[in-house]
Symmetry: C2
Subunit: 435 residues, 2 copies
Amino acid sequence: MIPRITIAQAGAHVGESVQIAGWLYNLRRSGKIAFPILRDGYGLMQCVAVKSALPEALFETIRNLTQESSIIVTGKIRADERAPGGFEMDVENLEVVQRVPESDPYPITPKDHGIEFLLEHRHLAIRGLRAHAILGIRHEVIKAVRDYFDSHGFTLVDTPIFTPAACEGTTTLFEVNYYEDNKAYLTQSGQLYNEATAMAFGKVYCFGPTFRAELSKTRRHLREFWMVEPEMAYATLEDVKRVAEEMLVFIVGRVLENRREELKRLERDVTRLEAIQAPFDRMTYDEAIEILHQKGSPIQWGDDFGGTDETLLTQDRQRPIMVDRFPASFKAFYFEPAADRPDVVLGVDVLAPEGYGEIVGGGQRIHDLDLLLQRIEQHKLPKEAFQWYIDLRKYGSVPHGGFGMGIERAVAWICGIEHIRETIAFPRTLYRWAP
Amino acid sequence: MIPRITIAQAGAHVGESVQIAGWLYNLRRSGKIAFPILRDGYGLMQCVAVKSALPEALFETIRNLTQESSIIVTGKIRADERAPGGFEMDVENLEVVQRVPESDPYPITPKDHGIEFLLEHRHLAIRGLRAHAILGIRHEVIKAVRDYFDSHGFTLVDTPIFTPAACEGTTTLFEVNYYEDNKAYLTQSGQLYNEATAMAFGKVYCFGPTFRAELSKTRRHLREFWMVEPEMAYATLEDVKRVAEEMLVFIVGRVLENRREELKRLERDVTRLEAIQAPFDRMTYDEAIEILHQKGSPIQWGDDFGGTDETLLTQDRQRPIMVDRFPASFKAFYFEPAADRPDVVLGVDVLAPEGYGEIVGGGQRIHDLDLLLQRIEQHKLPKEAFQWYIDLRKYGSVPHGGFGMGIERAVAWICGIEHIRETIAFPRTLYRWAP
């Protein structure tokens, strides 16, 4: 029996007759020869169908194939350096599973389509080479993230999606009627729960979808995005920085190791990725403000960085920057203040180079009960809803910290693409929640 | 400097002085010796504090430690076969990070608490040995699932949580105000999207939270649960069964390999797990009905199995059963009918032994355009909302199939526990969405 293989396995079958099931990606032809390019989800294979070697009806069928028709091709694999994947297939037989009719052709043609059209047809557009490369890298990034944490003593503990209260403000919450008239909210971050699970497991991470009902419509925002969030008991800001750095270097290394093909297809300058090595540049917020002033930014001490500031800070650097010790004024209630300066907190942002900006945000959390109670009051948070979180400071509180990394932003940076909507199969933006 | 280790690493440090940071799990003591048991998220360590070997104040501190106080213990590791983990630690020093006061003691004591109290205090209860074991096995199951698919040519493609329409009926949907007055629904299954991504990647899986606004309050239902769903292009029912079987054997094998300690703590009969080997028993729905009749069930042909039926079918078997070829009447619109019998569809359920019932459900999907259109009409589904799904049958349709496995049910079965609410850190049931 002829073995069924994927295009990725072609190299192990040179000189053999095999079967590959896929879809017609493209077709060139003349009167005597046709070159159907086959796509099977693992790669592209240029097939060669020679009229004189095939039954006449079969050659005509091949000559008249339409884009995205599903076909099963039988043929002999031949190494050919000129071919895209390094192999070609001499067609011996071809079965048409479903032929896309000329009367209703595949809507996405090689011509340029507008972005709205492509998002409307996202269920088909993901078959394209670019989407395929980006989503393949996304898979690799997610696998690398999990492998990193799984092999460094972290336990995956999924945190809930339905939450009774907001982690950071209520204006960007999606509300759900949970039971009768009781409201629940879709999680914006698993962090508060991570703080509970870290006290049970030492080191934990959660990794799931998070939701922000933001009204902003920028290239850096999705309403539904995936986030990985590690949290460590008995950890300080320095531990958080070390883990974030190590994890990022590991992820980029994995992508370089396993996804060269995809990076090439995206025309990514891989030297920019090869430069992502420890140690990252480290600076305090104060130092960052000084640099920004030298570069002409009007930013004032106490302001959060804008996109332009992040670009100014990173533009002449090869490696990510870790900025820490931020003004308490614009950071969430749970940040531990610096021991030597109560107006700054032990938060850290990791800014990616090339204008990608913040990809990681985290820090050390308050572990003192009285200070936490004070902050909850200052931030006018509902103490009752936070009672369980307060409990963590009553029963064996320890210094602890962690961070969050949005997967889509990390993938956009690694792929070198402009808009994060391309980094997820079915992006959910302000005006789009279909298909 | 004295190295900081976890309890899991003790074996590599026998005879050395090390530091372990954790929490007081328990304490036995007499006038001259105290045995604080330390918990650090990785295991338990019995420490031995001898009065004559320590400064008086320190020994008094140790003697008076309270449950769950956070402590950092320095001491020498000694192998001791009688100790729970095989090692003990002779205390040289002990730093109290935070002492839980007698006036407000840790609420979960060794006495029996009611389940409502424990769920109310779930943020603390997860520190307990039982919860720790179950959630550790959950971590292992999830890692095994991902490793299985990642190493078998599947691409992880996350499917959206916000969806414009329901996959299977609308009565159990959670509704969200997405943008202005537009509604979106929380996903019940990534399957329909998987069918799109499988046409792009060949073999895919999604793995994320899913939501059912069910009003049932049983030991097998959660309103928020995690599901893994593989989908394969160019696949038939037989492929689906083979992959489900292989995956389940792989997962159980991994748990047996890496989580013996946890299984023992849960008093799991591991011979039941060791028996989970291929091939699983296979039978058609028709054969299952016959067996059920022989066993006295009143079930009629055309009825779905109830819990009792699943128990009757599996009670005298060691391995899971795969039941296929179900009546079309109670299965979803997208199931491919059997070629030889249009009244049955190519669905398969995998039933776990010991009364755990369905842990996997899946099958082959309709790939013919006209048949799909007919089914959408018969099931009175909104054709407009399914247009993108219909597209998949117009542009290179191929036979395809997959399945879904609820992680919580699989973990409950593997752990041998009764209620799935214990298999997730923060269960969301009909009346509970906090903490």
